[in-house]
Amino acid sequence: MAQRSLHRPRLVTICEKKAETPLVTTLRWKDATSARPGQYVMVWVPGVDEIPMSLCDTGSLKGIAVHAKGEATSALARLHVGDRIGVRGPYGHGFRLRPGKCLVVAGGTGIACLAPLVERLARRWPRPSVVIGAKTRSELLFVDRMRRTGAEVVVTTDDGTAGRKGFATDAAYELLNRNRYTQIYSCGPEVMMRITASLAQCQSAPVQLSLERYMKCGIGICDSCSMGGIHICIEGPVLDARRVMHLPEFGKYRRDACGRREKV
């Protein structure tokens, strides 16, 4: 086995840029490092910041889905093909694939880390159910990509401009009543994940959640991403709901760059 390389950004060149929605841009680069769906990379925009981004493509072409909302994500969204960024990782625990029929519940850009998972699931096991929820039609991400896998895709929008009007959890509730699932995966707003995990309790199917917290070191030292003493950067970002549901901050608060608690 190759020796572990140092935790230090390695430069990669963006080879593909695509506007997926008015808010979300995907950036891709060639990188042979092995990665699992659910893992993330620390992305360095030199002179700006370094931030954790879940991989939306985990093959030899790596990708991230950038929702420009802060300084670093806005800088990323302004980059062009040929520009260079620094990358550390892939880091963290990704999704564990379990055989059987699966339910995937995504909210907003949460589908980004779930998309490569669905592609793998759909190749191996019976048709997974995928719920993609967004506020409105224009914010729906990767719907066609998910349909192409052969999965059963249910779209919801809060305002009813596409798919069913309502929340992703409404659709998840109906699917859980209709089908038996061996595994449930979810990523999105924490309130949505909390409800999803609660709904799933009736089937006693294990639930894996992908969590997001402010990160600095990415390697389990600095404690910025602590959730009840669990380091999301290396013990997550994917965790079993059983480990997360009882944590007082889940769905309630997160920490800012100073370590102050703020509402999620």
Binding site: L6, H7, R8, P9, L11, M42, W44, P46, G47, V48, D49, E50, I51, R84, G86, K216, C217, I219, G220, I221, C222, D223, S224, S226, G228, G229, H231, R255, D256, A257, C258, G259, R260, R261
Partner: protein
């Protein structure tokens, strides 16, 4: 099993291994985790008066021999840290409150607050190597070190430790100044100034540029500083810098340390850190026929 307990400035520790400041210390829950995982005590992240974001990432980069980091003293501010301490004190073991200020007055106000929150001792951060107006910028000056220490000592009843920077011509001079100021113990050393440059981008990797080097690579520097301080002062020393094994710990003890702090090794060993170090130190003591940790302190200074 040999006697691993130590007493330092009145603090009784089950073992000499203390979690160093800045590692696992932003939240009370993680400090409690370190204590449950066997730490003799823990030091909080350095806390200041106001919330502070710290520098932009990257804040850490790995280099041969360890890490270079420049976090920039991020912390939620002393008011918000109260609830973290309530959690950290849960396991009932000593929690040492690290504080940083721009002058003696700010230090003493923070010290009183920390004491009120229930910490067992204070650690004055006079050694962060890269924060403008804080840390080593005060701690490289013996007069300021003496002043800050004495003002804090006058303000609180709990023991006061001073954490020293190795980035000085004479660490003994600074250590003596802290002792004259009334310090109950000295912690040596904080990180060494260091930098990593990206060869393709031709720019420093860390957001702040300059950082502090920690890990196995700095152990000889830390051992030398402790050795020198042991000759210069009478107060107990807490050895810090690249301790990864029980033998590393023994080396610091022989140089003159009475207790130890560990940081970078937590990256590798996480919850196993403290139990592994205790087991390794115990094995060293047994194989060299020492009955206690205490009997090692300063033994490298000859038979005198």
């Amino acid at each position: 099993m040999a006697d691993l307990t130590v007493e330092i400035a009145g603090l009784r520790l089950q073992n000499p291994f203390i979690l160093a400041s800045g590692i696992w210390g932003e939240t009370g829950a993680t400090l409690a985790r370190a204590l449950r995982a066997g730490a003799g005590a823990v030091v909080t992240k350095s806390i200041g008066t106001e919330p502070r974001q710290g520098y932009a990432n990257p804040t850490i980069v790995e280099v041969p021999g360890g890490f270079i980091n420049a976090m920039g003293l991020p912390n939620p501010g002393i008011d918000a840290y109260k609830e973290e301490l309530e959690t950290a004190l849960g396991p009932g073991k000593p929690v040492i409150g690290s504080i940083f200020g721009a002058d003696a007055r700010e230090f003493s106000a923070l010290a009183r607050r920390m004491e009120g929150f229930g910490v067992a001792a204070l650690e004055l951060n006079l050694s962060c190597p890269h924060a403008k107006g804080y840390g080593a910028q005060l701690g490289q000056d013996p007069d300021i070190t003496r002043k800050v220490t004495s003002v804090v000592k006058a303000a609180v009843r709990i023991p006061v430790f001073v954490k020293l920077t190795p980035n000085v011509a004479s660490i003994s001079a600074i250590g003596k100044a802290a002792e004259q100021g009334g310090a109950d113990a000295l912690c040596a050393v904080n990180t060494l100034r260091g930098m990593a440059i990206d060869l393709d981008l031709c720019r420093p990797v860390l957001g702040h540029g300059m950082g502090g080097y920690s890990g196995p690579g700095i152990k000889p520097v830390g051992v030398a500083c402790v050795y020198e301080l042991f000759k210069a002062v009478r107060i107990p020393l807490i050895g810090i810098g690249g301790i990864s094994t029980g033998e590393d710990a023994a080396e610091y003890l022989l140089a003159g340390a009475a207790a130890l702090q560990v940081g970078s090794i937590v990256y590798k060993k996480r919850d196993r850190t403290f139990r592994d170090l205790c087991r390794e130190l115990d094995r060293f003591l047994a194989s060299h026929r020492y009955r206690s940790v205490r009997s090692l302190t300063g033994k490298a200074h000859g038979g005198s």
